[in-house]
């Protein structure tokens, strides 16, 4: 029959209930029989508590409670029965008694010679009775019996034994008069050697101290009645059996690598007689709903029905061999999520470590486990092992000493779900913690050390102080192990800093870190720190600096008292004003606490700071000292105040007129011994008192002006006084008097010349002020008017001024005559000047024009000279024999037939157009200008010539130009077309153009026939006016002299362009010298023909014979053989 914990609880209840009730009731055998049945059933293991209704017992108790006084007999019967029944529940091992319900019980019955004693009252020796510890099953009602009870009180501190005679109860109940029974009890503790004695009538109660230890107590009782005495046999009580067994201890759970959860506990005493255990557990949310189980003979149990993520409370108790149950242990709380096996590992560097993780959450699968090292690095899956569905294992090798953690997480999508537990790995050996130390806040007795170690480690900083130098510590390492390590006062934690206080500067500190686990610790390499090397000294103090008149800055300071080593210093300073460079200037290292620094100017205040450090050895610079502003040394007060001007600005918003004084910086007022340190602005308004304001050396000073007469005086000051010669200014609102007659400004490239004149009938002003706005400063860039305003004061005698600075030329200058009592009416003028670049450009253009003109003139002269010199007289040609070129019909005779274009057969007849003889002899008929080497100049506008003779000679309308073309490289191998262009002389503009083109060609003069850059040249050799003239002078071969290849290659384009640009129809006549003409050229010709309807004649001439003639070698060598070339040939 199974008995759960509820049944046991009920049983205890009944036992206690019955025990508490037994001294009062249970006088009937009916109850006894029920009880006996229960005991029997329980012994046989068949007890069914559920059928044992306590309410029946309770009613029974009420029923029989009234029978309490039915007599001693009944009571004795109960006692015996009760003892028997309880002894059956609790094994009896006490000598003469039984242990039950944490009490020792015995029944002592003695036979006393009661009657005899009454009869023989004169007997000398009292009669001695006999006592016997009775088996409770055999009560003897005829004798005097005592109920003996012993129990513990307190925490095993006292044992109380009580002996009570049955007579007492009977007397009380029956109200019969009986002789008194005297009970005397002796109690002796064997171990504690304590004894106690107590006496009483019918009852005796003794207490003996046990001092909390288990002991065996001896008990002796004697009873006396009417002079007769009886002694009990020796009784022994073991206090060990009078208490509950102690609860088990060290309740905990382990998880096996298979995922089994095993709870374990230990007995409180090593020699515990616990034989049975019971464990119960409940979830935190369902308290009082316990689940439990009994365990026999072992102190562990496996609980595999627990859920993850639930907080459980578990308790355990034990049962001794006399069936006493201990109290439940204190609750043990736990939550199962992920368990690591082992949770802490100590290993050595390079060893392999295997850690198991058990997923108690059954929705997590070991196949999806992800192991993380220090929460930062994912361990490769190749190092994982799946033990079973819930258990994953990883094997890692830790390479470096120190502390690491392993976390087993569960992959959930792309994320890794982890719980807060992790396994810790301690790897033996020294790790590098990178400890650095430095004093802070300039406290020499304080030093802060920082380290860099994984945030996962809970480290302790330990240190040890040595009185020797750090260099010798390593030699002493072995000898001071006994010395105690000290820990950082700030304690362990995730802090990475420890601050040492009350340092001994010249000691050596050995500092290291320790990471401590449950089974050991690992430590870092120690660092040896001498604070003297790491402590940052305090900055120097009592700094003083003076700017001396000899342009020297004198600085002195006081070194810190501690540390006492020699120091070096560094000083830096910066000017407060007056110097453009406001960067700190550093001076050092300095060995003395003072310095003399040469300056560029005097009277300047400087901000000075100093710092210090150890002179020899390492160490840190101190912080910079407090800033100190140098004092400017003065021997006397300034002599004169600064010059100043004003800017008046209306504030329309507030209806206030503000006056800003623009003060020239008076650093030196007189001599170097009287520097100006500040200004005093003295005001005096009309009708009011004088007041003044002190300012620093500012460039601007503003004050509101009420447009009343207001006199302002600016006074220089220093520590010794104020200036005596000062300038003042009177501001007036009334109309100002006019005294300037004229004011003009003349500007050149970099200077402005200002001049003015005064009206003769006015007094001369005290001075003049000329002001203008600096256009360099952009007003849009928040540059105020006062900063843009420039001014200069001019003496009263001056009437002009040269201002040489950068001007833009559009400045407006204002001349203010300044009188003693105010300003006169200002006069304005604007200095305008041209842009110098424009002037320069104009000059350059003019110069170039002149150069061009001269060049043209010279080239014209040269051309005339060349042409008239080289062109042969056509009259010398054979074909012109007998021709009178002066006659108008000469040309018609020359070209009698239009189809042959007349000249061609002539040329072909001669078979050599180059057979021209140039006769240098002056022909009497030759034009005068030829003789005089004059150059005819044509004006295209009126189509007249300057030379009347030429004009007369040029009445001949025709000018023949023969041209040749050279094949371009693109057309090499192709037949080419050469043209001769016949120009009509009645188009002087065209002729002039052609002449110019020709002239330029001659000037550029690459007449070399072997020039290959003739490609693309327009095949238009020209005979220009000179040819015309030449023809007039009967020298038609003259044209051949121009027929160089280069010449035509250039002139042809120019000619073409000229013909277009003039917009005048060209009368061109092309001489086609090759039938194999390209189509483009044909088209061009056709177009030309269409344009020139009347005067065009095309002469088709095969040029090849010409080209194959003599003197063609020069060109032929450079041009393809197929290229027809026409070279000029001259013949005499």
């Amino acid at each position: 029959m199974r008995c759960d914990w509820r049944a046991w609880t009920s049983l205890n209840f009944y036992k206690e209930y019955i025990f508490g009730f037994e001294t009062l009731v249970f006088a009937t055998l009916g109850i006894l029989s029920i009880h006996e049945q229960l005991v029997t059933l329980q012994r046989e293991g068949k007890l069914e508590i559920a059928s044992y209704d306590p309410f029946k017992l309770r009613s029974t108790k009420s029923l029989f409670g009234n029978m309490l006084y039915d007599g001693l007999l009944m009571l004795q019967s109960y006692t015996v029965v009760s003892s028997l029944s309880l002894a059956a529940l609790s094994p009896s091992d006490g000598r003469g008694g039984v242990y039950e319900d944490l009490k020792w019980k015995a029944l002592l019955c003695c036979e006393l010679p009661f009657a005899q004693s009454l009869d023989d009252g004169l007997s000398e020796h009292p009669p001695v009775g006999q006592c016997q510890l009775l088996n409770a099953t055999k009560p003897e009602f005829s004798r005097n019996c005592l109920d003996i009870l012993c129990w513990l009180v307190g925490e095993r501190t006292n044992l109380i034994c009580n002996a009570k005679s049955h007579r007492a109860a009977a007397t009380a109940s029956l109200l019969t008069v009986r002789p008194q029974l005297v009970v005397q009890m002796n109690v002796l503790s064997d171990e504690a050697n304590h004894a106690a004695q107590c006496t009483g009538e019918d009852t005796a109660m003794c207490s003996i101290s046990l001092h909390g230890n288990d002991a065996t107590v001896s008990l002796n009782i004697s009873i006396s009645l009417n002079g007769s005495t009886a002694l009990s046999p020796k009784m022994q009580v073991s206090t060990h059996h009078l208490r509950r067994p102690e609860s088990p201890v060290n309740l905990h759970y382990d998880v096996t690598t298979e995922g089994e959860v095993i709870f374990r506990w230990s007995d409180a005493q090593p020699n515990s007689d616990a034989i049975n255990y019971e464990i119960r557990y409940a979830s935190n949310s369902t308290l009082q709903q316990w689940e439990g189980m009994k365990v026999k003979g072992r102190s562990w149990v496996s609980l595999n029905e627990l859920s993850s993520g639930i907080r459980y409370m578990v308790q355990v108790r034990c049962q001794s061999h006399i069936n006493y149950w201990s109290e439940w242990t204190q609750p043990f709380y736990f939550t199962l999520d992920v368990s690591y096996i082992p949770a802490e590992i100590f290993t050595t560097q390079g060893s392999e470590v295997t850690v198991y993780a058990v997923f108690h959450n059954h929705s997590w699968s070991a196949s999806k486990a992800v192991w993380m090292l220090n929460g930062q690095v994912k361990i490769p899956e190749s190092q994982y092992r799946v033990i079973n569905k819930q258990v994953s294992a990883v094997t890692v090798t830790v390479d470096e000493p120190g502390f690491d953690t392993l976390m087993c997480c569960h992959q959930w999508g792309e994320r890794f779900k982890c719980i807060i537990a992790y396994a810790k790995i301690y790897t033996e050996g020294m790790f590098n913690a990178d400890i650095t130390c430095q004093s802070k806040n300039s406290e020499v007795d304080t030093m802060s050390c920082e380290w860099n170690k994984s945030a996962w480690a809970q480290v302790r900083l330990l240190y040890r102080q040595y009185t020797s130098m750090c260099e010798t510590i390593s030699e002493m390492e072995g000898s001071e192990e006994a010395e105690e390590n000290m820990e950082c006062p700030s304690g362990a934690g995730d802090h990475r800093e420890c601050t040492f206080k009350n340092l001994s500067l010249f000691s050596c500190y050995k500092i290291w870190l320790e990471v401590e686990g449950g089974h050991g610790k690992v430590r870092s390499f120690p660092v040896y720190v001498a604070p003297i090397d790491y402590v940052k000294p305090s900055p120097p103090s009592v700094l003083e600096a003076t700017t001396l008149p000899n342009k020297t800055l004198s600085v002195s300071w006081r070194r810190p008292h501690l540390p006492v080593y020699d120091m070096q210093y560094e000083l830096h300073f910066v000017a407060l004003r007056g110097m453009a460079n406001t960067q700190w200037k550093v001076i050092g290292p300095l060995l003395e606490p003072q310095a003399e620094i040469q300056l560029e100017e005097s009277c300047v205040q400087f901000k000075v700071e100093v710092r210090c450090r150890r002179l020899n050895g390492s160490g840190y610079w101190s912080d910079w000292s407090m800033s100190y502003t140098s004092v400017v040394y003065n021997r006397k007060a300034p002599e004169m105040g600064p010059d100043f001007w004003r800017a008046i600005q209306e504030d329309p918003v507030r209806s206030v007129t503000n006056v800003t004084l623009i003060i020239k910086q008076p650093v030196l007022a007189g001599d170097p011994y009287s520097c100006v340190e500040g200004l005093v602005i003295e005001h005096q308004a009309s009708g009011r008192a004088v007041w003044s304001n002190e300012t620093t050396l500012a460039q601007f000073y503003s004050f509101p002006w009420r447009k009343e007469a207001h006199t302002v005086t600016v006074i220089s000051r220093n520590a010794l006084g104020i200036s005596t010669r000062n300038r003042n200014m009177t501001l007036l609102h009334q109309p100002k008097r006019r005294c300037v007659r004229s004011f003009s400004a003349v500007a050149n490239s970099s200077c402005v010349y200002l001049s003015w004149s005064l009206l003769s009938d006015h007094s001369v002003p005290q001075s003049f002020v000329i002001e203008w706005l600096d256009l360099k400063k952009d007003p849009e860039q928040d540059v105020s008017l006062t900063e843009r305003l420039q001014w200069v004061r001019v003496q009263s005698a001056s009437r002009d001024l040269f201002l040489c600075r950068r001007f833009y030329g559009s400045e407006e200058f204002t001349l203010y005559p300044v009188f003693v009592d105010g300003e006169g009416e200002p006069v304005r003028c604007t200095a305008t000047r041209g842009d110098p670049a424009a002037y320069i450009l104009l000059l350059i253009i003019a110069f170039l024009s002149v150069v061009l003109f001269v060049t043209l003139l010279m080239s014209q002269n040269q051309m005339r000279k060349l042409m008239w010199k080289d062109v042969p007289n056509p009259n010398n040609c054979s074909w012109a024999k007998g021709m009178d070129f002066r006659q108008i019909d000469t040309i018609e005779n020359l070209f009698p037939h239009s189809e042959g274009l007349t000249a061609c057969p002539l040329l072909l007849v001669s078979e050599s157009i180059c057979e021209v003889e140039i006769i240098e002899k002056t022909h009497p008929v030759t034009l005068e200008h030829e003789k005089d080497n004059e150059v005819p100049i044509y004006k295209s506008g009126d189509k007249t010539t300057t030379d009347s003779a030429l004009l007369a000679d040029s009445s001949e309308p025709l000018s023949l130009e023969a041209s040749t073309t050279a094949a371009t490289p693109e057309t090499s191998g192709q037949s080419s077309v050469t043209y001769s262009t016949v120009l009509l002389s009645h188009q002087p503009s065209l002729l002039r153009k052609q002449q110019e083109s020709l002239s330029s060609s001659s000037d550029e003069g690459n007449f070399s026939a072997n020039n290959s850059d003739i490609s693309g040249s327009f095949p238009g050799g020209l005979w220009d006016l000179e040819n015309h003239v030449c023809s007039d002078s009967a020298n038609p071969r003259h044209s051949s002299s121009y027929n160089s290849v280069e010449e035509f290659s250039e002139t042809s384009d120019q000619d073409y362009e000229a013909s277009e640009s003039t917009g005048v129809a060209k009368d061109l006549y092309y001489l086609e010298v090759n039938e194999e003409e390209e189509e483009e050229d044909e088209e061009e010709i056709e177009e030309t023909q269409s344009e020139q309807e009347k005067n065009e004649m095309v002469m088709k001439v095969d040029a090849r014979p010409l080209l194959e003639g003599k003197n063609s070698t020069a060109v032929a060598s450079n041009v393809s053989h197929s290229i027809p070339l026409y070279l000029p040939q001259f013949s005499d």
């Binding site: 935190n284 993520g309 907080r311 709380y333 736990f334 939550t335 999520d337 949770a343 993380m372 929460g375 930062q376 690095v377 994912k378 953690t405 997480c409 959930w412 792309e414 994320r415 890794f416 779900k417 982890c418 719980i419 807060i420 537990a421 992790y422 810790k424 945030a455 996962w456 809970q458 700030s490 304690g491 362990a492 934690g493 995730d494 802090h495 449950g518």
Partner: protein, 171 residues
């Protein structure tokens, strides 16, 4: 002529009230916001030092209910309740930089406590005190992750508090 006689008691009465004038609600909101922002930044710095793997998630919101996660804000009482729990957690963590956050949290609690007093709100003890103690005791050896988890949840609560400053006007 009766004015002085009336004026003086009024002035005295006003002066006596001045001492007990609580922080103006708007000022309190500003203070709480500043302090909460400070705590959020400190937590961020602290947790960043762990340099955890980017996809690592320590402690699901449904796990470890002892540390408040995603708590709703319903007036000063709930704020105080949650913050007190966090303060207990921080108290149990090893000293270090967390102590600064703990100090900030105490300051914030001081503001709220004063506000609750001035509004005559009744405060109650946190309900999960015992289980929290047991949780912290069980996980004392894992203070790094416990601290990370607690600070992360505190940060979330602070961020929620910053956008629910109107709840400071309710008990």
């Amino acid at each position: 002529m009766y004015f002085p006689a009336l004026l003086y008691p009024c002035i005295l009465g006003m002066l006596s009230l001045v001492h007990g004038i609580p922080i103006h609600p708007d000022n309190l909101k500003n203070l709480v916001k500043l302090q909460a922002d400070t705590i959020v930044l400190r937590i961020k710095d602290h947790n960043d030092k762990l340099k955890l793997y980017p996809t690592l998630l320590i402690g699901d919101p449904e796990l470890y209910p002892e540390i408040p996660a995603d708590k709703t804000i319903q007036g000063l009482g709930s704020i105080m309740d949650t913050l007190t729990t966090f303060q207990k957690v921080l108290q149990r963590l090893p000293k270090g930089h967390v102590s600064q956050i703990h100090s900030d949290l105490s300051t914030l609690l001081g503001y709220l406590k004063e506000r609750m007093t001035s509004m005559h709100c009744t405060s109650k003890e946190p309900a999960n005190g015992r289980s929290l103690d047991a949780f912290l005791e069980d996980n004392a050896t894992h203070h790094i992750t416990v601290g990370y988890l607690a600070l992360d949840r505190l940060k979330q609560f602070m961020q929620k508090l910053i956008v629910n400053l109107d709840q400071l006007k309710r008990c």
